[in-house]
């Protein structure tokens, strides 16, 4: 029996989760939500995490009904992500690991998402679409690495959505992407936007500039509603994601798709991906907001896999890093 405690705080969510042999014992989380029109800055985010992390850690232990002695390993997000919040979380992880005399494990955030997706959905060997506010990658496992088949060449798809939400000043509660999704349901007019797939990769910053300008022009002249723009943006962005996912599947001869990351909560994206999968006779896997959105248990799960395959992070190597490629990690727990 192996029990792993995982800390996650690379963006505006701070979560602590406990996993015991594939069972999620607890997974409390808090989100730093900024006023409409504003994004979250590193120092403010770190301040938010710092204020609540010890409380959330206590909650995780209480909800799991465990004491520190019951934990076998302490996992935390080594990167990628925002520097100041990552440091805040790493400090607590290092400190409790030492206080409790437990080994420490630095986890790659993207791999946390993948391993949680695999655990929850039981997908065998899927093509993974990892889409969030900070990342957009199409990943497939091959020979001990999670290989990046395609990715954004500039900003993440979630970042495009979040920044558009600021332009139209909608609420960031519970998340800007969620509110765009609700508004998109009421959109009826399709506004043509640039479509920028580049081979296996995608680009979003051009679409963002275009729609920011279009919003100012069209909304003030009444040519369309904010709902129409939300709808059009989703249709465009998601079509691009479906295209690059399908391309990767064709390369790998894959019959499974797994969507992970915060944007993966979006039901319209799941719907569109589902249509493509059906056409190819492939199966679609997705998780709900508990596990799509950044959480501590996903770090615990990746940590569980790493720990059981013999990996450990020495304290002097436990520095955080804002850039950490998914394919940098040797996936020692799979053949």
């Amino acid at each position: 029996m192996t029990v792993v405690l995982g800390f996650e705080g690379s963006a505006n969510k701070i979560g602590v989760g406990i996993i015991r042999d594939g069972e999620v014992l607890s997974n409390p989380r808090r989100t730093y939500i900024t006023p409409p029109g504003q994004g979250f800055l590193p120092s403010d985010t770190a301040r938010h995490h710092r204020a609540v992390i010890l409380t959330v850690l206590k909650e995780a232990l209480e909800q799991a009904g465990l004491k520190p002695a019951d934990i076998d390993c302490v996992a935390y997000t080594k990167g990628p992500g925002m520097g100041a919040p990552l440091v805040t979380v790493a400090l607590v992880a290092r400190t409790v690991a030492q206080l409790w005399g437990k080994p420490l494990l630095g986890v790659n955030h993207c791999i946390g998402h993948i391993e949680m997706g695999r655990l929850i959905t039981n997908a065998n060997n899927p093509t993974v679409l990892y889409v969030s506010g900070g990342n957009t990658q199409v990943i497939a496992y091959s020979e001990r690495r999670y290989r990046i088949f395609g990715e954004t060449i500039d900003i993440a798809v979630g970042n495009c959505l979040d920044r558009f939400a600021r332009v139209i000043k909608i609420s960031n509660d519970p998340s800007p992407g969620y509110n765009i999704e609700q508004m998109a349901k009421k959109g009826s007019q399709y506004v043509e936007l640039p479509y920028t797939v580049k081979g296996m990769d995608v680009s979003f910053s051009g679409i963002l500039s275009y729609i920011e300008e279009a919003a100012h022009k069209m909304l003030s002249s009444g040519q369309c509603t904010a709902e129409d723009l939300c709808f059009s943006l989703q249709e465009t962005l998601f079509s691009m994601l479906v295209e690059i996912t399908e391309r990767a599947m064709a390369h790998c001869g894959s019959q499974e798709v797994l969507i992970v990351g915060g944007v993966g909560c979006n039901l319209r994206l799941q719907e569109m991906m589902g249509v493509m999968c059906k056409e190819r006779g492939a199966k679609l896997f997705a998780t709900d907001e508990r596990f799509c959105i950044d959480n501590g248990a996903m770090i615990a799960q990746a940590g569980w896999e790493m720990f059981r395959s013999g990996q450990v992070t020495e304290l002097e190597d436990s520095w955080i890093t804002q850039r950490y490629r998914t394919d940098e990690v040797e996936v020692t727990w799979r053949d």
């Binding site: 710092r50 002695a69 440091v87 400090l91 290092r94 400190t95 409790w100 005399g101």
Partner: protein, 97 residues
């Protein structure tokens, strides 16, 4: 927690700042050291710091080119230190080895 601070210019043209933090035991000072030392200074140039433990005291020595760079680094460190102390308060004392 009592801290001793001094700011002197020792002729190298650099600003120096030192901080000494007493802990209840050497073990706890080392725990704090090992939590606070792995991350690199975000700013690459113009500042460096060194953490050491002597007995049960954690000592930090900064060397900076400019006062504002020094201030940012020391401020950051004090925030981090207080988080580590709070964590040790809530989840300590360390288990016997």
């Amino acid at each position: 927690m009592a801290a001793l601070e001094s700011e002197t210019n020792n002729g190298t043209g650099k600003l120096e700042f030192s901080l000494d933090v007493p802990f209840p035991s050497s073990r706890e000072a080392i725990i704090a050291l090992q939590s606070l030392s792995p991350d690199r200074e975000p700013r690459k140039g113009g500042i460096s710091k060194q953490l050491t433990v002597s007995g049960s005291t954690l000592s930090v020595r900064w060397s900076a080119d400019e006062a504002r760079i020094l201030r940012v680094s020391v401020n950051s460190f004090l925030d981090h230190l207080s988080l580590v102390l709070e964590t040790m308060e809530m989840f300590g004392p360390p288990v016997s080895q």
